[in-house]
Symmetry: D2
Subunit: 144 residues, 4 copies
Protein backbone atom coordinates (compact mmCIF):
# COMPACT_ATOMS: atom_id res chain seq x y z
CA UNK A 1 0.00 0.00 0.00
CA UNK A 2 1.57 3.22 -1.13
CA UNK A 3 0.50 6.67 -2.24
CA UNK A 4 1.12 7.96 -5.75
CA UNK A 5 1.61 11.69 -6.08
CA UNK A 6 2.03 13.56 -9.33
CA UNK A 7 4.18 16.69 -9.46
CA UNK A 8 5.34 18.83 -12.39
CA UNK A 9 8.68 20.58 -11.83
CA UNK A 10 8.09 24.31 -11.36
CA UNK A 11 10.34 27.01 -12.79
CA UNK A 12 10.93 28.35 -9.28
CA UNK A 13 12.16 24.90 -8.26
CA UNK A 14 15.06 24.99 -10.72
CA UNK A 15 18.44 26.49 -9.94
CA UNK A 16 21.23 27.96 -12.04
CA UNK A 17 22.52 24.44 -12.72
CA UNK A 18 19.37 24.13 -14.85
CA UNK A 19 17.88 21.33 -12.75
CA UNK A 20 15.43 21.04 -9.87
CA UNK A 21 17.27 22.11 -6.71
CA UNK A 22 17.87 19.21 -4.32
CA UNK A 23 16.03 20.92 -1.44
CA UNK A 24 12.76 20.39 -3.32
CA UNK A 25 12.85 16.63 -2.90
CA UNK A 26 12.15 16.71 0.86
CA UNK A 27 9.20 18.97 0.00
CA UNK A 28 7.97 16.49 -2.60
CA UNK A 29 8.42 13.67 -0.07
CA UNK A 30 6.17 15.69 2.24
CA UNK A 31 3.54 16.08 -0.47
CA UNK A 32 3.75 12.29 -0.77
CA UNK A 33 3.16 11.86 2.99
CA UNK A 34 0.15 14.14 2.78
CA UNK A 35 -1.34 11.84 0.16
CA UNK A 36 -0.33 8.71 2.05
CA UNK A 37 -2.17 9.76 5.21
CA UNK A 38 -5.25 10.45 3.13
CA UNK A 39 -5.36 6.78 2.12
CA UNK A 40 -6.37 6.12 5.73
CA UNK A 41 -9.34 8.41 5.67
CA UNK A 42 -7.72 11.19 7.63
CA UNK A 43 -5.24 14.01 6.96
CA UNK A 44 -2.32 15.85 8.51
CA UNK A 45 -4.65 18.81 9.04
CA UNK A 46 -6.94 16.61 11.14
CA UNK A 47 -4.04 15.02 13.03
CA UNK A 48 -2.76 18.48 13.91
CA UNK A 49 -6.27 19.60 14.84
CA UNK A 50 -6.27 16.62 17.23
CA UNK A 51 -3.15 18.07 18.84
CA UNK A 52 -0.49 15.76 17.42
CA UNK A 53 2.39 16.75 15.17
CA UNK A 54 5.10 14.73 13.46
CA UNK A 55 8.30 16.77 13.19
CA UNK A 56 11.16 15.28 11.21
CA UNK A 57 13.97 13.50 13.07
CA UNK A 58 16.02 12.08 10.22
CA UNK A 59 16.14 12.65 6.50
CA UNK A 60 18.11 10.88 3.82
CA UNK A 61 17.96 11.37 0.07
CA UNK A 62 19.92 9.79 -2.73
CA UNK A 63 20.04 11.57 -6.06
CA UNK A 64 20.55 9.53 -9.21
CA UNK A 65 19.57 11.81 -12.08
CA UNK A 66 18.41 15.42 -12.26
CA UNK A 67 14.80 16.53 -12.77
CA UNK A 68 14.23 19.30 -15.29
CA UNK A 69 11.70 22.10 -15.54
CA UNK A 70 8.29 20.80 -16.68
CA UNK A 71 9.27 17.18 -16.05
CA UNK A 72 6.32 15.09 -14.90
CA UNK A 73 7.25 13.24 -11.72
CA UNK A 74 5.62 10.50 -9.72
CA UNK A 75 6.39 10.22 -6.01
CA UNK A 76 5.61 6.93 -4.30
CA UNK A 77 5.33 6.93 -0.50
CA UNK A 78 5.37 3.95 1.87
CA UNK A 79 5.23 3.62 5.62
CA UNK A 80 8.14 1.33 6.49
CA UNK A 81 7.93 1.30 10.29
CA UNK A 82 5.73 2.62 13.07
CA UNK A 83 5.82 2.54 16.85
CA UNK A 84 3.86 4.54 19.42
CA UNK A 85 6.68 7.11 19.38
CA UNK A 86 7.94 7.21 15.78
CA UNK A 87 7.02 6.64 12.17
CA UNK A 88 9.18 6.05 9.11
CA UNK A 89 8.44 6.60 5.44
CA UNK A 90 10.28 5.72 2.24
CA UNK A 91 9.94 7.46 -1.11
CA UNK A 92 10.89 7.15 -4.72
CA UNK A 93 10.78 10.00 -7.21
CA UNK A 94 10.58 8.93 -10.85
CA UNK A 95 10.27 10.89 -14.07
CA UNK A 96 7.38 9.87 -16.28
CA UNK A 97 8.86 9.86 -19.76
CA UNK A 98 6.82 10.86 -22.83
CA UNK A 99 6.52 7.16 -23.77
CA UNK A 100 5.04 6.34 -20.36
CA UNK A 101 8.10 4.57 -18.97
CA UNK A 102 9.56 5.72 -15.67
CA UNK A 103 13.13 6.68 -14.76
CA UNK A 104 14.17 6.78 -11.11
CA UNK A 105 15.66 10.14 -10.14
CA UNK A 106 15.81 9.97 -6.35
CA UNK A 107 14.91 7.81 -3.38
CA UNK A 108 14.92 8.59 0.29
CA UNK A 109 13.43 8.13 3.70
CA UNK A 110 12.25 10.19 6.64
CA UNK A 111 11.73 9.39 10.31
CA UNK A 112 9.34 11.42 12.42
CA UNK A 113 8.51 11.61 16.10
CA UNK A 114 4.97 12.00 17.42
CA UNK A 115 4.81 15.11 19.58
CA UNK A 116 2.12 17.10 21.33
CA UNK A 117 1.18 20.15 19.26
CA UNK A 118 1.34 22.52 22.22
CA UNK A 119 4.30 21.31 24.24
CA UNK A 120 6.35 19.85 21.34
CA UNK A 121 7.12 16.94 23.70
CA UNK A 122 6.88 13.28 22.68
CA UNK A 123 3.42 11.76 22.84
CA UNK A 124 2.09 8.24 22.44
CA UNK A 125 0.40 7.93 19.04
CA UNK A 126 -1.13 4.60 19.97
CA UNK A 127 -3.02 6.16 22.88
CA UNK A 128 -3.63 9.49 21.19
CA UNK A 129 -5.08 8.21 17.95
CA UNK A 130 -5.75 4.49 18.53
CA UNK A 131 -7.98 4.04 15.51
CA UNK A 132 -5.60 5.62 13.01
CA UNK A 133 -2.66 3.87 14.66
CA UNK A 134 -4.23 0.45 14.28
CA UNK A 135 -5.29 1.10 10.72
CA UNK A 136 -1.84 2.24 9.65
CA UNK A 137 -0.08 -0.46 11.61
CA UNK A 138 -2.08 -3.21 9.97
CA UNK A 139 -1.16 -1.90 6.58
CA UNK A 140 2.54 -1.91 7.30
CA UNK A 141 2.36 -5.54 8.30
CA UNK A 142 0.33 -6.56 5.29
CA UNK A 143 1.85 -4.47 2.54
CA UNK A 144 5.45 -3.79 3.50
CA UNK B 1 14.56 56.24 9.50
CA UNK B 2 15.00 53.00 7.66
CA UNK B 3 16.44 49.52 8.25
CA UNK B 4 19.44 48.22 6.34
CA UNK B 5 19.54 44.48 5.78
CA UNK B 6 22.38 42.57 4.15
CA UNK B 7 21.67 39.44 2.14
CA UNK B 8 23.91 37.29 -0.03
CA UNK B 9 22.13 35.52 -2.90
CA UNK B 10 21.91 31.79 -2.16
CA UNK B 11 22.36 29.07 -4.76
CA UNK B 12 18.88 27.74 -3.96
CA UNK B 13 17.47 31.19 -4.74
CA UNK B 14 18.66 31.09 -8.34
CA UNK B 15 16.64 29.58 -11.18
CA UNK B 16 17.50 28.07 -14.54
CA UNK B 17 17.65 31.58 -16.02
CA UNK B 18 20.82 31.89 -13.91
CA UNK B 19 19.47 34.72 -11.75
CA UNK B 20 17.74 35.04 -8.39
CA UNK B 21 14.12 33.98 -8.88
CA UNK B 22 11.69 36.89 -8.54
CA UNK B 23 9.72 35.21 -5.73
CA UNK B 24 12.70 35.73 -3.42
CA UNK B 25 12.29 39.51 -3.38
CA UNK B 26 9.10 39.45 -1.29
CA UNK B 27 11.00 37.20 1.12
CA UNK B 28 13.89 39.67 1.26
CA UNK B 29 11.38 42.50 1.78
CA UNK B 30 10.10 40.51 4.75
CA UNK B 31 13.61 40.12 6.17
CA UNK B 32 13.82 43.90 5.84
CA UNK B 33 10.57 44.36 7.80
CA UNK B 34 11.89 42.08 10.55
CA UNK B 35 14.90 44.38 10.91
CA UNK B 36 12.79 47.52 10.65
CA UNK B 37 10.55 46.50 13.57
CA UNK B 38 13.66 45.82 15.65
CA UNK B 39 14.64 49.48 15.31
CA UNK B 40 11.71 50.16 17.63
CA UNK B 41 12.88 47.88 20.37
CA UNK B 42 10.43 45.10 19.62
CA UNK B 43 10.09 42.26 17.11
CA UNK B 44 7.54 40.42 15.01
CA UNK B 45 7.91 37.48 17.39
CA UNK B 46 6.86 39.70 20.30
CA UNK B 47 4.03 41.28 18.32
CA UNK B 48 2.70 37.81 17.48
CA UNK B 49 3.18 36.72 21.10
CA UNK B 50 0.97 39.72 21.99
CA UNK B 51 -1.71 38.27 19.72
CA UNK B 52 -1.40 40.55 16.71
CA UNK B 53 -0.41 39.53 13.19
CA UNK B 54 0.13 41.55 10.02
CA UNK B 55 -0.82 39.49 6.95
CA UNK B 56 -0.09 40.94 3.54
CA UNK B 57 -2.89 42.71 1.65
CA UNK B 58 -1.01 44.12 -1.35
CA UNK B 59 2.37 43.53 -2.86
CA UNK B 60 4.12 45.28 -5.72
CA UNK B 61 7.63 44.78 -6.99
CA UNK B 62 9.47 46.32 -9.91
CA UNK B 63 12.48 44.51 -11.27
CA UNK B 64 15.21 46.53 -12.95
CA UNK B 65 18.23 44.25 -13.12
CA UNK B 66 18.84 40.62 -12.10
CA UNK B 67 20.67 39.54 -8.94
CA UNK B 68 23.20 36.76 -9.36
CA UNK B 69 24.40 33.96 -7.10
CA UNK B 70 26.76 35.27 -4.39
CA UNK B 71 25.82 38.89 -5.08
CA UNK B 72 25.88 41.01 -1.93
CA UNK B 73 22.59 42.86 -1.59
CA UNK B 74 21.38 45.62 0.68
CA UNK B 75 17.66 45.93 1.36
CA UNK B 76 16.40 49.23 2.72
CA UNK B 77 13.00 49.26 4.43
CA UNK B 78 10.82 52.26 5.29
CA UNK B 79 7.39 52.61 6.83
CA UNK B 80 5.48 54.88 4.47
CA UNK B 81 2.05 54.93 6.10
CA UNK B 82 0.30 53.64 9.19
CA UNK B 83 -3.22 53.73 10.55
CA UNK B 84 -4.86 51.76 13.34
CA UNK B 85 -5.90 49.16 10.74
CA UNK B 86 -3.07 49.06 8.20
CA UNK B 87 0.65 49.62 7.70
CA UNK B 88 2.65 50.18 4.53
CA UNK B 89 6.32 49.61 3.81
CA UNK B 90 8.58 50.46 0.89
CA UNK B 91 11.78 48.71 -0.08
CA UNK B 92 14.77 48.99 -2.33
CA UNK B 93 17.09 46.11 -3.15
CA UNK B 94 20.53 47.16 -4.37
CA UNK B 95 23.62 45.19 -5.30
CA UNK B 96 26.77 46.21 -3.47
CA UNK B 97 29.43 46.18 -6.16
CA UNK B 98 33.03 45.17 -5.45
CA UNK B 99 34.03 48.86 -5.55
CA UNK B 100 31.46 49.72 -2.89
CA UNK B 101 29.01 51.47 -5.20
CA UNK B 102 25.40 50.33 -5.28
CA UNK B 103 23.20 49.38 -8.23
CA UNK B 104 19.43 49.29 -7.80
CA UNK B 105 17.93 45.94 -8.79
CA UNK B 106 14.39 46.14 -7.48
CA UNK B 107 12.00 48.32 -5.52
CA UNK B 108 8.61 47.56 -4.12
CA UNK B 109 6.01 48.04 -1.45
CA UNK B 110 3.74 46.02 0.78
CA UNK B 111 0.55 46.83 2.64
CA UNK B 112 -0.51 44.82 5.68
CA UNK B 113 -3.59 44.65 7.85
CA UNK B 114 -3.46 44.28 11.61
CA UNK B 115 -5.40 41.18 12.62
CA UNK B 116 -6.00 39.21 15.78
CA UNK B 117 -3.74 36.15 15.88
CA UNK B 118 -6.55 33.79 16.86
CA UNK B 119 -9.53 35.01 14.89
CA UNK B 120 -7.63 36.45 11.89
CA UNK B 121 -10.11 39.35 12.05
CA UNK B 122 -9.06 43.02 11.86
CA UNK B 123 -7.89 44.55 15.11
CA UNK B 124 -7.00 48.08 16.15
CA UNK B 125 -3.22 48.38 16.43
CA UNK B 126 -3.48 51.73 18.17
CA UNK B 127 -5.46 50.19 21.02
CA UNK B 128 -3.70 46.85 20.97
CA UNK B 129 -0.11 48.11 21.11
CA UNK B 130 -0.39 51.82 21.93
CA UNK B 131 3.24 52.28 22.85
CA UNK B 132 4.65 50.67 19.69
CA UNK B 133 2.01 52.41 17.60
CA UNK B 134 2.98 55.85 18.89
CA UNK B 135 6.67 55.19 18.53
CA UNK B 136 6.34 54.03 14.93
CA UNK B 137 3.86 56.72 14.02
CA UNK B 138 6.13 59.50 15.26
CA UNK B 139 8.93 58.16 13.14
CA UNK B 140 6.86 58.16 10.01
CA UNK B 141 5.94 61.77 10.54
CA UNK B 142 9.44 62.88 11.34
CA UNK B 143 11.47 60.83 8.91
CA UNK B 144 9.24 60.13 5.94
CA UNK C 1 -8.95 31.90 -23.40
CA UNK C 2 -7.29 31.16 -20.12
CA UNK C 3 -5.39 28.33 -18.47
CA UNK C 4 -6.72 26.49 -15.44
CA UNK C 5 -4.11 25.14 -13.05
CA UNK C 6 -4.82 23.03 -9.99
CA UNK C 7 -2.58 23.29 -6.94
CA UNK C 8 -2.91 21.81 -3.45
CA UNK C 9 -1.28 23.87 -0.70
CA UNK C 10 1.87 22.12 0.54
CA UNK C 11 2.93 21.96 4.17
CA UNK C 12 6.23 23.63 3.26
CA UNK C 13 4.26 26.51 1.75
CA UNK C 14 2.67 27.43 5.08
CA UNK C 15 4.25 29.75 7.60
CA UNK C 16 3.94 30.19 11.35
CA UNK C 17 0.81 32.30 10.81
CA UNK C 18 -0.75 28.97 9.80
CA UNK C 19 -1.48 30.06 6.23
CA UNK C 20 0.24 29.78 2.84
CA UNK C 21 3.07 32.32 2.80
CA UNK C 22 2.43 35.18 0.39
CA UNK C 23 5.64 34.54 -1.58
CA UNK C 24 4.07 31.33 -2.93
CA UNK C 25 1.49 33.18 -4.99
CA UNK C 26 4.03 34.51 -7.54
CA UNK C 27 5.23 30.91 -7.84
CA UNK C 28 1.68 29.69 -8.44
CA UNK C 29 1.20 32.49 -10.97
CA UNK C 30 4.26 31.12 -12.74
CA UNK C 31 2.84 27.60 -12.74
CA UNK C 32 -0.22 29.18 -14.34
CA UNK C 33 1.90 30.82 -17.06
CA UNK C 34 3.56 27.47 -17.77
CA UNK C 35 0.13 25.99 -18.42
CA UNK C 36 -1.03 29.02 -20.40
CA UNK C 37 1.87 28.78 -22.86
CA UNK C 38 1.07 25.11 -23.37
CA UNK C 39 -2.36 26.06 -24.70
CA UNK C 40 -0.48 27.39 -27.74
CA UNK C 41 1.27 24.15 -28.49
CA UNK C 42 4.62 25.21 -27.13
CA UNK C 43 6.29 25.56 -23.72
CA UNK C 44 8.62 27.80 -21.76
CA UNK C 45 11.25 25.07 -22.09
CA UNK C 46 11.00 25.32 -25.87
CA UNK C 47 10.98 29.11 -25.84
CA UNK C 48 14.15 29.09 -23.77
CA UNK C 49 15.67 26.44 -26.03
CA UNK C 50 14.96 28.89 -28.88
CA UNK C 51 17.06 31.45 -27.02
CA UNK C 52 14.34 33.71 -25.64
CA UNK C 53 13.57 34.33 -21.99
CA UNK C 54 10.87 36.36 -20.27
CA UNK C 55 12.18 37.80 -16.99
CA UNK C 56 9.72 39.58 -14.74
CA UNK C 57 9.55 43.38 -14.86
CA UNK C 58 6.57 44.10 -12.62
CA UNK C 59 4.57 42.07 -10.16
CA UNK C 60 1.44 42.95 -8.25
CA UNK C 61 -0.63 40.74 -5.99
CA UNK C 62 -3.70 41.47 -3.91
CA UNK C 63 -4.51 39.14 -1.06
CA UNK C 64 -8.14 38.78 0.03
CA UNK C 65 -8.26 35.64 2.16
CA UNK C 66 -5.63 33.17 3.32
CA UNK C 67 -5.07 29.73 1.79
CA UNK C 68 -4.60 26.87 4.25
CA UNK C 69 -2.60 23.66 4.15
CA UNK C 70 -4.27 21.05 1.90
CA UNK C 71 -6.62 23.63 0.36
CA UNK C 72 -7.38 22.85 -3.27
CA UNK C 73 -6.73 25.92 -5.39
CA UNK C 74 -7.46 26.84 -8.97
CA UNK C 75 -5.27 29.40 -10.70
CA UNK C 76 -6.63 31.05 -13.83
CA UNK C 77 -4.15 32.74 -16.15
CA UNK C 78 -4.85 35.22 -18.96
CA UNK C 79 -2.66 37.15 -21.32
CA UNK C 80 -3.85 40.74 -21.09
CA UNK C 81 -1.42 42.51 -23.37
CA UNK C 82 1.44 41.72 -25.72
CA UNK C 83 3.85 43.71 -27.83
CA UNK C 84 7.07 42.71 -29.56
CA UNK C 85 8.95 43.73 -26.39
CA UNK C 86 6.65 42.85 -23.51
CA UNK C 87 3.88 40.54 -22.34
CA UNK C 88 1.40 40.87 -19.50
CA UNK C 89 -0.57 38.24 -17.63
CA UNK C 90 -3.36 38.38 -15.07
CA UNK C 91 -4.23 35.72 -12.53
CA UNK C 92 -6.84 34.75 -10.02
CA UNK C 93 -6.30 32.21 -7.25
CA UNK C 94 -9.47 30.67 -5.86
CA UNK C 95 -10.09 28.00 -3.26
CA UNK C 96 -12.26 25.13 -4.43
CA UNK C 97 -14.57 24.49 -1.49
CA UNK C 98 -15.77 20.98 -0.60
CA UNK C 99 -19.18 21.83 -2.11
CA UNK C 100 -17.56 22.77 -5.42
CA UNK C 101 -18.04 26.52 -5.09
CA UNK C 102 -15.03 28.81 -5.42
CA UNK C 103 -13.79 31.56 -3.13
CA UNK C 104 -11.34 34.15 -4.45
CA UNK C 105 -8.18 34.38 -2.34
CA UNK C 106 -5.85 36.46 -4.46
CA UNK C 107 -5.54 38.16 -7.82
CA UNK C 108 -2.54 39.71 -9.48
CA UNK C 109 -0.64 40.50 -12.62
CA UNK C 110 2.86 40.24 -14.02
CA UNK C 111 4.66 42.02 -16.83
CA UNK C 112 7.62 40.44 -18.58
CA UNK C 113 10.19 41.57 -21.09
CA UNK C 114 11.40 39.42 -23.95
CA UNK C 115 15.17 39.06 -23.73
CA UNK C 116 17.87 37.09 -25.47
CA UNK C 117 18.84 34.06 -23.38
CA UNK C 118 22.56 34.70 -23.77
CA UNK C 119 22.90 38.45 -23.57
CA UNK C 120 19.88 39.14 -21.34
CA UNK C 121 19.20 42.13 -23.61
CA UNK C 122 15.76 42.96 -25.03
CA UNK C 123 14.78 41.07 -28.15
CA UNK C 124 11.88 41.34 -30.55
CA UNK C 125 9.46 38.48 -29.91
CA UNK C 126 7.56 39.19 -33.11
CA UNK C 127 10.68 38.58 -35.19
CA UNK C 128 12.11 35.87 -32.99
CA UNK C 129 9.04 33.66 -32.75
CA UNK C 130 6.63 35.00 -35.38
CA UNK C 131 4.34 31.99 -35.36
CA UNK C 132 3.87 31.87 -31.59
CA UNK C 133 3.58 35.65 -31.48
CA UNK C 134 0.76 35.69 -34.01
CA UNK C 135 -1.05 32.83 -32.37
CA UNK C 136 -0.94 34.42 -28.93
CA UNK C 137 -1.74 37.87 -30.23
CA UNK C 138 -4.87 36.67 -32.04
CA UNK C 139 -6.10 35.10 -28.82
CA UNK C 140 -5.68 38.28 -26.86
CA UNK C 141 -7.70 40.16 -29.42
CA UNK C 142 -10.44 37.60 -29.55
CA UNK C 143 -10.74 36.51 -25.96
CA UNK C 144 -9.62 39.45 -23.82
CA UNK D 1 39.54 24.22 9.06
CA UNK D 2 35.86 24.97 8.77
CA UNK D 3 33.60 27.79 7.62
CA UNK D 4 31.30 29.64 9.99
CA UNK D 5 28.11 31.00 8.50
CA UNK D 6 25.55 33.12 10.31
CA UNK D 7 21.89 32.87 9.41
CA UNK D 8 18.79 34.39 11.02
CA UNK D 9 15.62 32.33 10.58
CA UNK D 10 13.29 34.08 8.13
CA UNK D 11 9.52 34.25 8.54
CA UNK D 12 9.10 32.58 5.15
CA UNK D 13 11.23 29.69 6.40
CA UNK D 14 8.77 28.79 9.16
CA UNK D 15 5.81 26.47 8.67
CA UNK D 16 2.46 26.07 10.38
CA UNK D 17 4.14 23.98 13.08
CA UNK D 18 5.69 27.31 14.12
CA UNK D 19 9.27 26.18 13.44
CA UNK D 20 11.74 26.43 10.57
CA UNK D 21 10.69 23.89 7.95
CA UNK D 22 13.15 21.01 7.63
CA UNK D 23 13.75 21.63 3.92
CA UNK D 24 15.60 24.83 4.83
CA UNK D 25 18.50 22.98 6.43
CA UNK D 26 19.88 21.62 3.12
CA UNK D 27 19.71 25.22 1.87
CA UNK D 28 21.61 26.45 4.93
CA UNK D 29 24.15 23.64 4.42
CA UNK D 30 24.61 25.00 0.90
CA UNK D 31 25.17 28.52 2.21
CA UNK D 32 27.83 26.95 4.44
CA UNK D 33 29.50 25.28 1.43
CA UNK D 34 29.54 28.61 -0.40
CA UNK D 35 31.46 30.12 2.52
CA UNK D 36 33.72 27.08 2.86
CA UNK D 37 34.89 27.30 -0.76
CA UNK D 38 35.66 30.98 -0.25
CA UNK D 39 38.21 30.03 2.42
CA UNK D 40 40.28 28.69 -0.47
CA UNK D 41 40.34 31.91 -2.40
CA UNK D 42 37.78 30.84 -4.98
CA UNK D 43 34.00 30.50 -5.21
CA UNK D 44 31.29 28.26 -6.60
CA UNK D 45 30.60 30.96 -9.19
CA UNK D 46 34.20 30.71 -10.41
CA UNK D 47 34.16 26.91 -10.34
CA UNK D 48 31.03 26.92 -12.48
CA UNK D 49 32.54 29.56 -14.77
CA UNK D 50 35.43 27.08 -15.20
CA UNK D 51 32.91 24.52 -16.40
CA UNK D 52 32.67 22.28 -13.34
CA UNK D 53 29.58 21.68 -11.23
CA UNK D 54 29.02 19.67 -8.08
CA UNK D 55 25.48 18.25 -7.99
CA UNK D 56 24.33 16.48 -4.85
CA UNK D 57 24.49 12.68 -4.72
CA UNK D 58 23.57 12.00 -1.09
CA UNK D 59 22.06 14.05 1.67
CA UNK D 60 21.50 13.20 5.31
CA UNK D 61 20.22 15.43 8.08
CA UNK D 62 19.43 14.71 11.71
CA UNK D 63 17.12 17.06 13.53
CA UNK D 64 17.51 17.44 17.28
CA UNK D 65 15.61 20.60 18.19
CA UNK D 66 13.53 23.07 16.19
CA UNK D 67 14.73 26.50 15.07
CA UNK D 68 12.30 29.37 15.55
CA UNK D 69 11.65 32.58 13.64
CA UNK D 70 14.36 35.18 14.32
CA UNK D 71 16.68 32.61 15.92
CA UNK D 72 20.33 33.36 15.24
CA UNK D 73 22.03 30.28 13.84
CA UNK D 74 25.61 29.34 13.17
CA UNK D 75 26.36 26.76 10.49
CA UNK D 76 29.76 25.10 10.56
CA UNK D 77 30.97 23.39 7.39
CA UNK D 78 33.84 20.91 7.00
CA UNK D 79 35.18 18.96 4.05
CA UNK D 80 35.40 15.37 5.28
CA UNK D 81 36.56 13.58 2.16
CA UNK D 82 37.64 14.36 -1.39
CA UNK D 83 38.67 12.33 -4.41
CA UNK D 84 39.04 13.31 -8.06
CA UNK D 85 35.40 12.28 -8.56
CA UNK D 86 33.59 13.19 -5.33
CA UNK D 87 33.60 15.52 -2.35
CA UNK D 88 31.92 15.22 1.03
CA UNK D 89 30.96 17.88 3.55
CA UNK D 90 29.65 17.76 7.10
CA UNK D 91 27.64 20.43 8.87
CA UNK D 92 26.33 21.43 12.24
CA UNK D 93 23.56 23.97 12.77
CA UNK D 94 23.50 25.53 16.23
CA UNK D 95 21.33 28.21 17.78
CA UNK D 96 23.25 31.09 19.33
CA UNK D 97 21.41 31.75 22.57
CA UNK D 98 21.06 35.26 24.00
CA UNK D 99 23.77 34.43 26.58
CA UNK D 100 26.21 33.45 23.83
CA UNK D 101 26.06 29.71 24.42
CA UNK D 102 25.21 27.41 21.52
CA UNK D 103 22.60 24.67 21.26
CA UNK D 104 22.88 22.07 18.51
CA UNK D 105 19.72 21.84 16.39
CA UNK D 106 20.80 19.73 13.45
CA UNK D 107 23.78 18.01 11.89
CA UNK D 108 24.17 16.47 8.50
CA UNK D 109 26.34 15.64 5.54
CA UNK D 110 26.29 15.88 1.77
CA UNK D 111 28.18 14.07 -0.96
CA UNK D 112 28.66 15.63 -4.38
CA UNK D 113 30.01 14.46 -7.70
CA UNK D 114 32.20 16.60 -9.93
CA UNK D 115 30.56 16.93 -13.33
CA UNK D 116 31.14 18.89 -16.50
CA UNK D 117 28.84 21.92 -16.62
CA UNK D 118 27.76 21.27 -20.20
CA UNK D 119 27.45 17.51 -20.42
CA UNK D 120 26.53 16.84 -16.76
CA UNK D 121 28.88 13.85 -17.01
CA UNK D 122 31.52 13.02 -14.36
CA UNK D 123 34.77 14.90 -14.66
CA UNK D 124 38.12 14.64 -12.89
CA UNK D 125 38.45 17.52 -10.43
CA UNK D 126 42.14 16.82 -9.92
CA UNK D 127 42.84 17.37 -13.60
CA UNK D 128 40.26 20.08 -14.11
CA UNK D 129 41.24 22.33 -11.19
CA UNK D 130 44.61 21.00 -9.96
CA UNK D 131 45.46 24.03 -7.87
CA UNK D 132 42.17 24.17 -5.98
CA UNK D 133 42.17 20.40 -5.64
CA UNK D 134 45.59 20.36 -4.01
CA UNK D 135 44.78 23.25 -1.73
CA UNK D 136 41.56 21.66 -0.50
CA UNK D 137 43.06 18.22 -0.24
CA UNK D 138 45.92 19.42 1.95
CA UNK D 139 43.45 21.04 4.29
CA UNK D 140 41.46 17.88 4.70
CA UNK D 141 44.57 16.00 5.69
CA UNK D 142 45.80 18.66 8.06
CA UNK D 143 42.62 19.83 9.67
CA UNK D 144 40.19 16.92 9.58
Amino acid sequence: MHAKTYVTVRYAETDRMGVAHHANYPIWFEVGRTDFIKLFGTSYSEMEAEGMMTPLRNLSAHYLLPALYEDKLIIRTWCTNMTAARIEFSYTVKRINPDGTETELCYGSTEHGFVDAKTFRPCNAKKRMPELYDKMNRNIKIFD
